[in-house]
């Protein structure tokens, strides 16, 4: 399958007078992982709810799996699976019963075989007969995702799939997501972890206060922030002043006794830099090389507004 799995244009949604989504355009290619990145309250869950037919947009057109989410709700629902932010498993049912419940509601023959295969695939075989209430956070997320996969959806929405998980469970979840895409599924993922988007996504969109402030591959986004640099810290003001005179184009942080020297961060330029410092007998207390990561992108793009949101 090629082409768009999800296409949204001019998507708007407001609750009373509060604008949550203010004109969102999205295009997710089939068979790829798309990450919607944003701080808390940016509108990620609302976006997922509109794309998955749970909310009707106030304006804009959304096509998922080739069908309009407003007028062809049933066809969209038949093609998608959703794993929400809070694991929506039935706590009183066992893992196996949860999967069988999904299979029965989808009217699938051979429900037992489907459940057994998913339990095995997600390493939940041992816990299959225990109620979901006794599962750990990681197991619940796995069961939740397994329930979503019962209907073999073409497009899977994962709303913050690893929030609250320990590092090991998070990596397991990432593995599972990669396997899904390898088998041709499209994944729409929301996350507030930059590492997760960097690790998984083919394309990333940054959502802030209901608007997309950037979109591209991880590398494209990283290119949008100031380049890499070397940071030098000195023991005293004198050394800092001397170094600042020697190293042209550097910016000084007098309070920290630090100097920021632009450069590509490679070994060759680093050696040249150290040679120059040696030639002028300048002692450096501390040296660190910075290459921009998505954190820089995120903070640069959602900077001051983000602070306002968090302060609320």
């Amino acid at each position: 399958m090629n082409g768009s799995a999800i296409a949204a244009s001019g998507l708007r949604k407001a609750y009373k007078d509060k604008i949550v989504l203010d004109g969102i355009d999205l295009d997710v290619r089939a068979g790829t992982i798309f990450a919607l990145l944003g701080p808390n309250g940016a509108g990620k869950t609302t976006t997922v709810n509109v794309l998955t037919t749970l909310l009707t947009p106030d304006a804009g057109k959304v096509v998922v799996a080739g069908h309009d989410v407003v007028t062809e709700t049933k066809a969209v629902r038949a093609a998608i699976g959703v794993t929400g932010q809070f694991a929506s498993v039935d706590d009183l049912l066992t893992g196996e019963e949860n999967l069988l419940l999904m299979a029965d509601l989808l009217h699938l023959p051979k429900a037992g075989r489907i459940a057994a295969r998913l339990l095995d695939r997600f390493d939940l075989g041992e816990a299959a007969g225990k109620p979901a209430a006794s599962y750990s956070g990681g197991m619940r997320r796995k069961l939740d995702l397994a329930m979503t996969l019962v209907g073999e959806p073409q497009i899977i929405f994962l709303d913050e799939p690893t929030t609250g998980l320990d590092p090991r469970s998070r990596r397991t979840m990432w593995e599972i997501i990669r396997e899904l895409v390898a088998s041709g599924t499209t994944i729409f993922l929301t996350t507030q972890y930059l590492e997760e988007a960097d690790e998984l996504a083919d394309r990333i969109a940054v959502l802030d206060q209901g608007r997309l402030v950037a979109e591209g591959t991880a590398d494209e986004l990283k290119r949008r922030v100031p380049g890499s640099h070397v940071r030098l810290r000195f023991a005293d003001r004198h050394a800092l002043d001397v170094a600042a005179q020697v190293l042209h184009g550097s910016t000084m942080d007098a309070e920290e006794l630090a100097l920021r020297v632009p450069g590509d961060g490679g070994v060759r330029s680093l050696r040249a830099l150290l040679d120059r410092l040696d030639a002028h007998s300048i002692d450096v207390e501390e040296l660190s090389v910075h290459t921009p990561d998505l954190d820089d992108v995120f903070l640069a793009l959602t900077g001051p507004q983000n602070k306002k949101v968090n302060a609320r």
Partner: protein, 249 residues
């Protein structure tokens, strides 16, 4: 039809919930029985109702049992809505009717089990009904209608409540209503105000209908009133439930 098979699937799930959380059902069985002991052995002799007090109180206790047994339904409906489980079902195109039907039918089955047990205990305590087979069928019919009415109302309450905790409280006013009816004391022995309330509130007509059927002397007037009340309450509960379901989910 998908609605029927989905309702059956969801009912199976609710049945498992009841079996795994039997305490929830306990409240609906034990409390009315305790109340029955209190009424028949402790207080019964103080009321002169003209007949054997166990015979007099049993119909009221049947209704009390329904009211004590509904909290788990309200809590379960509300947890489905607040836990995000309902969103999963909606994305799977499971009809709202299937979800709500299953809760109401589950309530009905639980209620019937509780009522059967309570009638059993009543027999041990001297309850001697003189109803014919047809009248027993009438009793069952009225009980089913009453549970469906209260059940739909409960589902609507559960959907409208903000949290499972507040949903669990919906039973409280209903638990008090039998005391303000002819369940334990004839309405004409009550003080002014309470008497009028007791005479006209729905429970009294339902209880009088059951009492009439069980003693083999059914009264047409109260039967019609009781059926009208049950159908009315059921319709209100049903449409209210559907409306809040659409709004919430």
């Amino acid at each position: 039809m998908n609605v029927i098979s989905d309702s059956a699937t969801m009912l199976r799930r609710n049945f498992r919930h009841t079996m795994r959380n039997p305490l929830a059902m306990f409240n609906g069985i034990i409390m009315p029985i305790v109340l029955m002991f209190l009424m028949v052995y402790v207080l019964g002799d103080a009321f002169s109702v003209g007949v054997n007090y166990a015979d007099y109180a049993t119909p009221g206790l049947i209704l009390t049992a329904i009211c004590y047994g509904i909290s788990p339904t309200a809590i379960a409906v509300n947890s489905d809505m607040t836990s995000g489980f309902i969103n999963r079902l909606r994305v799977m195109s499971v009809s709202r009717s299937a979800v709500l039907n299953a809760h109401v039918i589950g309530t009905l089955l639980r209620g019937l089990v509780a009522i059967a047990l309570i009638i059993g205990v009543a027999f041990l305590m001297g309850f001697r009904p003189s109803a014919s087979f047809a009248q027993w069928l009438g009793v069952i019919g009225i009980v089913v209608l009453a549970v469906l009415a209260i059940g739909w109302l409960t589902v609507a309450f559960g959907l409208a409540s903000k949290s499972p905790e507040s949903a669990g409280l919906v039973g409280v006013p209903l638990m008090l209503l039998p005391f303000l009816s002819s369940a334990f004391v004839p309405a004409d022995k009550m003080g002014p105000g309470a008497r009028q309330f007791a005479e006209y509130q729905p429970f009294t007509s339902i209880i009088e209908t059951l009492r009439g059927l069980l003693t083999g002397a059914p009264s047409t007037g109260s039967t019609i009133t009781a059926i009208a009340w049950c159908v009315g309450i059921m319709l209100i509960g049903y449409f209210w439930a559907r409306a809040s379901f659409t709004k919430r989910a």
